[in-house]
Symmetry: C2
Subunit: 111 residues, 2 copies
């Protein structure tokens, strides 16, 4: 809830996969999307309006990441790239990440 009278932005939806490389191949063969990041443990694809992340269940839960002020929801975790986030669960146990991008990368959030 970073700005009044403006809808919040979903930065990415993260789904679980067993093989990141295979998932990236499947989606990029069928859809127009850019691979923003990929290694053996996770990947981030950019669609026109939002990002799709692939995560390994052993490392990250599936989640929805919404841009906002994580400190308003708990004690933020500081990521290596300077981003801050808090994870919480909705009433059904779905994981929601409140994410503040690092200042130098924040403008990319609108791409």
């Amino acid at each position: 809830m970073s700005k009044q009278n403006q809808l919040d932005t979903l930065h990415h939806a993260a789904i679980c996969v067993k093989d990141v490389r295979e998932a990236v191949a499947w989606y990029t063969e069928r859809f127009h999307c850019d691979v923003e990041y990929q290694d053996d443990t996770w990947a981030m694809l950019a669609f026109d309006n939002v990002r799709l992340a692939f995560v390994l269940a052993a490392q990250h839960p599936p989640h929805l990441a919404i841009l906002g002020d994580p400190a308003a929801f708990g004690e933020p975790k500081i990521h290596r790239d300077g981003a801050r986030s808090v994870y919480m669960k909705d009433p059904d146990g779905n994981n929601v990440e409140i994410l503040a991008l690092a200042p130098e990368t924040a403008p990319a959030a609108k791409s």
Copy 2:
């Protein structure tokens, strides 16, 4: 893959909930988003860049809906509102819906 050289659009991500009303309340109390549709069996929230749907597991699987030509992926199902879609599974069993909105509602896809 509706247009060359343009990234595809994720229309909505649908997650499973047990109580649609409770889920809508939880998200709208915490985030700036508009309730586009809501009944006892599903709901659609609009964020700034994408939609978030709540579905009952008994009625719909969780899924990602990507705008495109469903006929390129299978035999489309025609919805009551004129939308057409095909469901398929990625290699990990995640459900992906290829969705073509009804002509009269298509412009709303960009909101």
